[in-house]
């Protein structure tokens, strides 16, 4: 079986210290105002004498089984690597059209203002090449994030996944269930934040017109068209490139 790298998150351990956010920004040179990962909060009005009701939820690109960003990408720059299950961006193919950004229900993507291409979590390949965990995982004080190949029963992530099959939570928007490979253990909150994926009409039409098997090829062939379309989108929809709410 090929690998599926994933994150198993015990959000009940998260203290919202945002070490993961800082570590990611440094490791990946994420430009000011942008983020590859986040900690979301659920802080209902407190009740004296009762258990605290706060819950903090670390997140990032979920490297989905059915990634809507891949569907939205006109050039094939965004793809799910069959060998390791990681959703990747090929910088040589990305034209910076920004279609993938609203296509992601989780706000995991941004357009790098310097390189002018899409960017997001890639599980720190440079670190893994040296046997190090992704920066967010390595630095986490309470070890809320566990990373590994969930298809490998020997890995910590695989073991956790198997040991908790009945209490795994995937945070999704039911209208666009992308089947994330980001697994939360037991109750996590907040749950209501993923948006419905927005696949932009020209691309949706383009992609619908062909069978899934050849969509990537057609996508590649359509690069010229897409570049023009992309420029049009950027001119008209600049707010899509603003940083997303990281609450």
């Amino acid at each position: 079986m090929s690998a599926q790298y994933a994150m198993i998150i015990d959000s009940s351990r998260c203290i919202d210290c945002r070490a993961c956010v800082a570590a990611c920004k440094v490791a990946n040179k994420v430009p000011e105002g942008f983020w590859r990962n986040w900690v979301k909060q659920s802080l209902p009005v407190p009740v004296a004498g009762k258990p605290g009701r706060g819950h903090f939820q670390p997140g990032a690109c979920m490297h989905c089984e059915k990634p809507s960003c891949v569907t939205a990408c006109p050039t094939g720059a965004t793809y799910k690597d069959a060998s390791d299950g990681i959703v990747k961006i090929d910088p040589k193919l990305c034209i910076g059209c920004g279609n993938c950004i609203p296509a992601c229900p989780y706000g995991a993507r941004y357009r790098d203002p310097v390189r002018r291409i899409a960017d997001k979590c890639n599980y720190c390949p440079e670190r893994r090449a040296q046997g190090l965990a992704p920066a967010c995982v390595d630095t986490c004080p309470t070890k809320a994030r566990v990373f590994g190949d969930v298809n490998d029963p020997e890995s910590e992530a695989g073991r956790l996944l198997r040991a908790n099959t009945n209490r795994l939570v995937r945070v999704v928007n039911t209208k666009t269930d992308t089947q994330p490979h980001m697994y939360y253990l037991a109750a996590t909150a907040p749950l209501d934040w993923p948006a419905e994926a927005v696949i932009r009409p020209p691309m949706a039409a383009l992609i619908k017109a062909v069978t899934p098997g050849v969509s990537a090829l057609v996508g590649l062939a359509a690069v010229g068209v897409a570049v023009m379309a992309g420029r049009e989108f950027l001119a008209g929809k600049s707010k899509d490139h603003e940083p997303r709410d990281r609450s």
Partner: protein
């Protein structure tokens, strides 16, 4: 440093090892390959060099590994062998790079040329700078005796050299940052157990936390161990805090106790524990003194009385007392750290310590632990004697149990301002920023105006540096060689870390050690600084077999020593040589030998009590201008209860004017039920006056501009929560 890539612990196995109390075994036997993470590992050599260091973004000093590419530090990672931090590096630690490469850093010595506070500076060379400082110190010493110079050093591995310099120069007047922090808590535990304990949070089953916010104000390993104990070992966390902190939000139970009434709650716990015979009678009889006096003392402090004072229901107080006692001795009233809150803070914290003593939460797993010997030597020196010096410190005689070695910032400031008992006219400040962290900024400013000479050594131009006559640029911790330091924390470790430069010092920055050495040479004191840090470190480590090698190999040295039962057969360092429920020395000095409750002061009509605290993103006032941390937490706001906000006609996010007896400020309101009516909160370190701190200059409001200058009557520690403010909607 050897290649780490194949010898890393997995995160869980690492934690488990630490949990099992087998710290040393884990440190020695880290063999398990990071499972599943090496799929992409090829033959490629690491693109970086790896160098050990110890973080300096707060006081915890977490061991880390700096990754250096082409001479540039590109990433700071936790050192997995550094057990005290449980192999983590927090947001601040990660932002050490932003401190190193901060464009707002001081780059060369600056001499003030305009009026004080005008911000006009002249770049000068190091020789001129040191000549100037030395001549001023000589002048002040001759005119006012050498005690006319005051030395203040923040928390830093080189601060010991500031103390050394002050002593050989001849001044008693040295203050640490600690009289704005934890001295009353230290005082209380020292005056109960004879030493300041470490909390064995990891092995505790029941943790009662008051006056501490461990999930935001990170203390290693306590913050991490608290979560491990709760989630993996079923420990219960009960939090008393007027504010709904993140610690409260994650607690098993939270009570918004009325501010300043923790002692009422703790005395009632003692009342229940004694009246219901819930204490370990044999242990208490063997180890403690004063049970009879305590029993008589707390007879009147029943839970119903406490409820009326602190607002926590009597039934809950009674139940918590029983639960705590049932879990004891694997239980604790957590001692906390910063206790610069009330004017009777030592007595408040004594009431915490007494509950722990009654329940025998001491020297055993899950309770409070005594310090272990690490074995680091302190190279000695014979300081000269100056006959003309006054008999004692300028801040002496005002707080009866002030720590001689730490002094009291608030009381020293009074002494300088009044010129009594003798003139203090010079101030040497290293890496601490009382203009932002000490109460009553206006008073600090007026005090500075009375000085003949003030020199500040720091990395950036802090608000304190901004008022100096001379500013000397210091390197960050990644650029210097530092002495070894011993660290402790619960059962995690008794260890040593040190620092070597990860990269050469940038700009013209010089470590404070080099500065002091330069001054010593100019003041005929060269013989006391006739060494370098490498030599000093060798002396520190002498006799610790394998320490040098361990520091080179692992970045940390552990000294195996007994964790529990270290008091078997030992006496306690108190007058009675026992754990003192009843403090004999206090009794002799005319202080309350048992904590006597007095209700917190009431503010003027419609005034709100201001409290301050920490988030996990910033350290005191030293990180708010750090580009990365500022991005995570860019400003501060005044937390205001919706009921108070409605009464003041203030909406969430609107600017408010805040005024106290000390001063005023302006910042946005954050309308939130996370503070109770009558209480407001704001974070430290914003609203800077120094224009070079571009992220925080004029952004938000400084706590120092509002806090009134009370102090703990026993220790002289600042009392930061005795301030009342009025809040009005901002006109503009």
């Amino acid at each position: 440093m050897p290649d780490q890539s194949h010898r890393r612990l997995t995160r869980r196995s690492f934690l488990k090892a630490a949990c099992a109390g087998t710290a040393l075994a884990a440190a020695a036997g880290q063999t398990k390959v990071l499972s599943g993470l090496v799929a992409e590992a090829g033959a490629a050599a690491a693109p970086w060099q790896s160098k050990f260091s110890a973080c300096d973004m707060c006081f915890n000093r977490c061991g880390l590994i700096a990754r250096v590419e082409n001479g540039v530090v590109t990433k700071l990672d936790p050192n997995p062998k550094f057990l005290k931090s449980r192999g983590m590096l927090c947001a601040k630690g990660n932002a050490g790079i932003a401190q190193l490469y901060d464009p707002n850093r001081l780059k060369y010595p600056l001499k003030r040329v305009g009026a004080r506070g005008e911000g006009k500076w002249q770049r000068i060379g190091w020789d001129e700078a040191l000549d100037l400082a030395a001549s001023k110190m000589k002048e002040i010493g001759e005119k006012h005796t050498r005690c006319g110079m005051w030395f203040t050093a923040g928390s830093d591995l080189q601060s010991q050299f500031v103390t050394r310099f002050a002593e050989v120069y001849g001044s008693f007047n040295v203050t640490s940052h600690e009289s704005l922090c934890l001295l009353s808590n230290n005082r209380a535990f020292l005056d109960t157990f004879g030493e300041v304990p470490f909390a064995d949070v990891l092995n505790s089953k029941y943790i009662l936390m008051a006056g501490a916010n461990r999930f935001e104000a990170l203390v290693t390993p306590d913050s991490i161990d608290l979560m491990t104990a709760m989630r993996e070992k079923g420990a219960k966390l009960v939090v008393l805090d007027p504010r709904y902190t993140k610690t409260a939000a994650l607690a098993d139970e939270w009570y918004p106790i009325r501010p300043g009434t923790d002692m009422a709650f703790m005395l009632a716990l003692s009342h229940v524990i004694i009246t219901e015979n819930l204490y370990d009678a044999a242990w208490v009889a063997e180890k403690t003194s004063g049970l009879e006096e305590l029993a008589a003392h707390v007879a009147r402090y029943n839970p119903e009385w406490a409820e009326a004072e602190c607002g926590v229901p009597a039934a809950d107080i009674r139940r918590i007392a029983r639960e705590l006692a049932a879990a004891a001795p694997e239980a604790m009233v957590y001692p906390g750290r910063r206790s610069s809150d009330y004017e009777n803070s030592t007595q408040i914290r004594r009431s915490f310590a007494i509950v722990n003593a009654l329940l025998a939460n001491w020297d055993r797993p899950g309770g409070l632990l005594g310090a272990r010997e690490v074995g680091l030597k302190k190279p000695g020196y014979d300081a000269p004697w100056y006959d003309d010096n006054p008999p004692e410190r300028a801040d002496a005689g005002r707080a009866p149990m002030m720590f001689e070695e730490d002094g009291s910032y608030v009381l020293m400031r009074e002494a300088v301002l009044s010129g009594e008992p003798y003139p203090v006219k010079g101030w040497f400040v290293f890496k601490t920023n009382p203009m932002q962290t000490a109460p009553d900024q206006g008073k600090t400013r007026r005090m500075i105006d009375t000085l003949d000479f003030m020199v500040v050594v720091d990395i950036t131009m802090s608000d304190t540096a901004y008022l100096a006559d001379l500013i000397l640029p210091a390197p960050s911790y990644l650029e210097r060689c530092d002495p070894a330091t011993a660290l402790q924390g619960s059962s995690a470790c008794a260890c040593v870390v040190q620092r070597d430069p990860v990269v050469p010092a940038l700009f013209e920055s010089r470590p404070v050690f080099d500065i002091l050495k330069g001054l010593a040479g100019r003041l005929d004191l060269a013989e006391f600084f006739d060494f370098d840090i490498e030599t000093y470190r060798a002396q520190q480590l002498a006799g610790l077999t394998g320490a040098k090698e361990a520091l080179e190999q692992d970045g940390v040295y552990y000294n195996p020593s007994k964790v529990y039962g270290i008091y078997e057969g030992r006496i306690y360092k108190t007058l009675s040589q026992r754990i003192e429920l009843f403090n004999k020395r206090y009794d002799q000095m005319g202080l309350d030998p048992l904590p006597v409750y007095s209700p917190p002061k009431k503010g003027p009509d419609k005034a709100l009590r201001l409290v301050v605290g920490r988030s996990a993103i910033h350290t005191q006032s030293s990180t708010q201008d750090n580009a990365l941390l500022n991005e995570l937490e860019p400003t501060n706001a005044l937390w205001l209860n919706p009921a108070d906000a409605a009464g003041l006609n203030v909406a969430d996010g609107e600017a408010v004017e805040v005024a106290s007896s000390a001063g005023k400020g302006r910042l946005p309101a954050r309308v939130t039920p996370d503070v109770p009516p009558g209480l407001v909160y704001m974070a430290t370190g914003f609203g800077s006056i120094s224009p070079t701190l571009t992220h925080i200059h004029g952004n938000g409001c400084s706590i120092a501009s509002l806090l009134a200058d009370g102090y703990d009557a026993i220790s002289g520690n600042a009392a930061l929560h005795e301030t009342f403010v009025t809040v009005t909607r901002s006109a503009s």
